[in-house]
């Protein structure tokens, strides 16, 4: 599969009377863009706010972060099976609005988490502080069930991102990069045949409300471990329906910009042969865990992998899936490195993972999500602070009188991302 990503750098966002990308600035006509969002009878109110890097702004509670893209050439459209019709994506040409994101905010449940600070110490821990964010703040009609509200908010964010991506269809990219993955047969020809065969095992959160991931529109918990092309993710084949665990959930932005895939593609043909991506779920039902990890190892064997990187999503019972995947891969002779994060307590003294095995001897950690942090007050809050005292890692009195917040790192969006998106680590 061969996909060309054309990057259009976005250096600012402003409101105007039309929608366009003009001279690297996204111009938004809120009325027009909100129309499809408000067409959903469950959405009572919706409005946009703009947050730029360095501004004294706190966005919370954040649900999802999405990078606008548009399919310019080749089959299918962005977010296939969800926004576009089901069609295999990942080839042709796609334009990316780089440097910006659509951020959905609004409380779906009363204990929601997810903070993005655009400046100060908190900004160092979230990658989204470096983006120009168009924040879509929503409120549901009174009495809307949590399931329905989550879906409405999810769809509103994706719809908005696709509409914005559409504005870049005819633009000339500032930079173009071609990503190409080989077939199995090509992998056994020179020069790839001399390199170690490496795969990527991507674990997807799949446990119910606020914990779901969709692959081509299919709820991941009803899937069996399978293969997916690296470039398919770049066209939005996987989207997030996950609202809990702000620090270590994979937002749709993460799925589009998966760093393991990027780094493996970068090394492909040089130091390794990047054979393929295995996606596998993290279900509640234990027999599902056993089956899914069995299949992960089996697929890795079918692909004759020498090595694999496994990335996790979430904490707690996904640790069980992680260790099962790792031990079964190792027992099948696949050398494995896992990426995870830790919940070692605020003092850092507790056992970092809920499961462990001696075979998990090569671990990359994205940091201790329990470590405390004090976020300074911001001049402006997008969303609401009502939930700060209830968010994970927050505690009574988390929100201080001066507007500063004492909380654990886990309240910050993407702070301990287990795809290895950040530089944060722990020892």
């Amino acid at each position: 599969m061969k996909l060309e990503l054309g990057y259009i750098d976005i250096k600012g966002i402003r409101f105007g009377d039309h929608n366009a990308v003009e001279d690297h600035v996204l111009v938004v006509n809120p009325e027009e863009l909100l129309e499809p969002v408000l067409a959903d009878p469950l959405i009572k109110t919706a409005h946009f706010e703009i947050a730029n890097p360095g501004e004294s702004i706190r966005i919370t509670p954040v649900k999802d972060v999405i990078e606008p893209r548009v399919k310019v050439e080749g089959p299918g459209g962005i977010f296939p099976g969800v926004i576009s019709k089901v069609h295999t994506v990942g080839s042709g040409k796609t334009h990316v609005l780089r440097g910006m994101a659509v951020v959905t905010a609004g409380p779906i449940v009363g204990f929601q988490e997810g903070i993005i600070d655009m400046t100060g110490v908190g900004a160092e821990y979230t990658p989204f502080s470096k983006l120009h964010n168009l924040v879509l703040v929503m409120e549901a009609v009174e009495g809307t069930g949590q399931h329905e509200y989550e879906k409405a908010a999810r769809m509103a964010g994706l719809t908005t991102a696709v509409a914005i991506g559409e504005l870049a269809r005819d633009l000339t990219p500032d930079e173009s990069v071609v990503y190409e993955t080989p077939t199995i047969a090509e992998g056994y020809q020179e020069p790839l045949s001399n390199l170690p065969r490496v795969g990527y095992v991507m674990m997807l959160q799949s446990q119910g409300l606020l914990h779901d991931t969709y692959v081509y529109g299919v709820d991941a918990k009803r899937t069996i471990s399978t293969l997916i092309g690296a470039t398919e993710l770049m066209d939005g084949a996987i989207i997030s329906g996950n609202c809990v665990s702000a620090c270590d959930k994979n937002t749709t932005y993460h799925h589009l910009n998966n760093p393991v895939i990027r780094d493996l593609l970068e090394a492909h043909g040089k130091t390794l042969n990047f054979v393929g991506v295995i996606i596998t779920n993290e279900n509640v039902y234990l027999a599902d865990k056993i089956r899914s990890s069995d299949w992960t190892a089996k697929l890795a064997k079918f692909l004759s992998l020498d090595g694999a990187i496994v990335s996790q999503e979430g904490f707690g019972n996904p640790d069980t899936d992680l260790i099962m995947n790792c031990t079964k891969l190792e027992n099948n002779g696949v050398k494995t490195v896992i990426i995870t994060d830790e919940y070692a307590g605020a003092d850092g003294k507790s056992q970092p993972l809920a499961d462990a095995d001696d075979l998990a001897d090569a671990v990359v950690t994205a940091g201790n999500a329990n470590e405390m942090i004090v976020l300074p007050p911001m001049e402006r809050v997008i969303g609401t602070l009502n939930f700060v005292n209830k968010i994970a890692g927050g505690h009574d009195g988390s929100l201080r009188e001066d507007g500063s917040i004492e909380t654990e790192l886990q309240a910050i969006m993407g702070s301990t991302n287990e795809l290895g998106f950040n530089r944060l680590s722990a020892r």
Binding site: E124, P196, V198, P259, V260, R262, D263, L264, A267, T271, L272, D306, G307, A308, I309, K335, T336, V337, I338, I339, T340, E342, A344, D347, G348, K349, Q351, P352, L353, A356, D357, D358, A360, D361, A362, V363, V364, T365, A366, G367, N368, E371, L409, N417, E418, L419, G420, F421, N422, R423, L424, S425, A426, R427
Partner: protein
């Protein structure tokens, strides 16, 4: 013009008194620096100065733990230092335990910042890594040149009250406290680096060591306990009165095997404990409290068990290294098998 006064602790070997044959020399204090102190002087520059050096025999320290700690602590106190440094001890076990013991005491009792350095497998490391900063060194004195600058830098940070980073940044042995910091590369790139090394069979360091458990598969159950020969093994230090094998009260280097032939009951006259890690009064009054010989003899008479084995084996688990324990266990298991033992009761304290 030096800022901070430092006292340095070294053993008889680095103090240039002599090797193993001089290991029983008691502690002495000299003004100024001796031996490895010179390397520290270079590393400290004009920020700190070693004003006194304490030299102590490794055997003397370990065999007189309480007295030695008190003596050395007193010598340090007199100097009123700002900082205390011990070693580095590399892989010398008794030297490592001495360095860590005294550094811990200086820190807790005198309230003076203290550090030491040693190889990760030194028994002193396992005993004290969660209490004091122990800089990771090589396993021999060849690692001196690398170890000293790291120790000096960390020591200066401690004495200045500067924030201490994670173990990976500062070079100390992981002390069980997980601390966040920013790496140079993002996680995915680090994972790729690690995998590349793992695939090439090159060494790599995991960022999050798994708690390592020595898992032992359970043996099948005894079919008929009334016919079984049952032995006792303990790390509680029970030995015949007088401790004939001189098993050490801590960091044991040996174990003993003792006959139970004709023994129905252990008493204060016949047995005692060599263990230095718990209050010995109740064990010395009646060693059956640690190894239940009296009850097992009764069971034997009642026909509840086949037999109490003629020999029991004992060592002291107090600070004894995993490597020593493994060696003892292998040897003891061999002897038990030869004696036709079917099952073992292991007691600890």
């Amino acid at each position: 013009m030096s800022n901070y006064k430092v006292v340095h602790y070294i053993n008889q070997f680095f103090g240039q008194i002599g090797g193993e044959e001089k290991a029983d020399v008691p502690a002495e204090k000299r003004q100024g620096l001796v031996g490895p102190g010179l390397a520290f002087k270079q590393a400290f520059g004009d920020q700190a100065e070693i004003t006194a050096t304490i030299i102590c025999g490794d055997s003397w320290f370990n065999e007189n733990l309480e007295l030695a700690t008190k003596t050395v602590l007193e010598m340090i106190k007199e100097e009123k230092p700002d900082l205390f440094i011990a070693g580095p001890a590399f892989n010398a076990g008794r030297y490592g335990v001495a360095c860590a013991t005294i550094a811990d005491a200086v820190q807790t009792e005198l309230g003076i910042p203290a550090i030491t350095g040693m190889y990760i497998e030194n028994p002193g490391a396992d005993m004290f890594r969660e209490k004091i900063y122990i800089v990771a060194t090589g396993n021999s004195a060849a690692g001196m040149r690398k170890a000293v600058p790291v120790m000096a830098k960390l020591a200066l940070k401690l004495v200045k009250g500067e924030p201490i980073g994670s173990s990976a940044e500062e070079g100390f042995l992981p002390n069980g406290i997980r601390k966040n910091f920013f790496e140079n590369k993002r996680g995915s790139a680090r994972a790729l680096d690690m995998l590349t090394k793992k695939l090439a069979g090159k060494p790599y360091v995991t960022e999050c060591p798994m708690p390592s458990f020595d898992r032992v598969a359970p043996q099948p159950a005894i079919k008929d306990i009334t016919k079984a020969n049952i032995a006792i093994v303990t790390s509680g230090g029970i030995v015949p009165k007088g401790n004939p094998d001189r098993i050490e009260s801590s960091s044991a280097s040996k174990y003993g095997g003792y006959s139970l032939e004709g023994v129905d009951n252990l008493t204060a006259d016949t047995h005692e404990t060599a263990h230095g890690g718990y209050d010995p009064v109740y064990a010395n009054q009646d060693a059956d409290r640690v190894i239940p010989v009296d009850v097992l003899r009764q069971y034997e008479k009642d026909g509840k068990i086949g037999k109490l084995n003629d020999w029991f084996y004992s060592t002291v688990g107090n600070g004894t290294s995993v490597a020593s324990s493994k060696r003892f266990a292998t040897e003891i298991a061999g002897k038990l098998l030869a004696q036709g033992v079917d099952a073992v009761i292991m007691t600890s304290t």
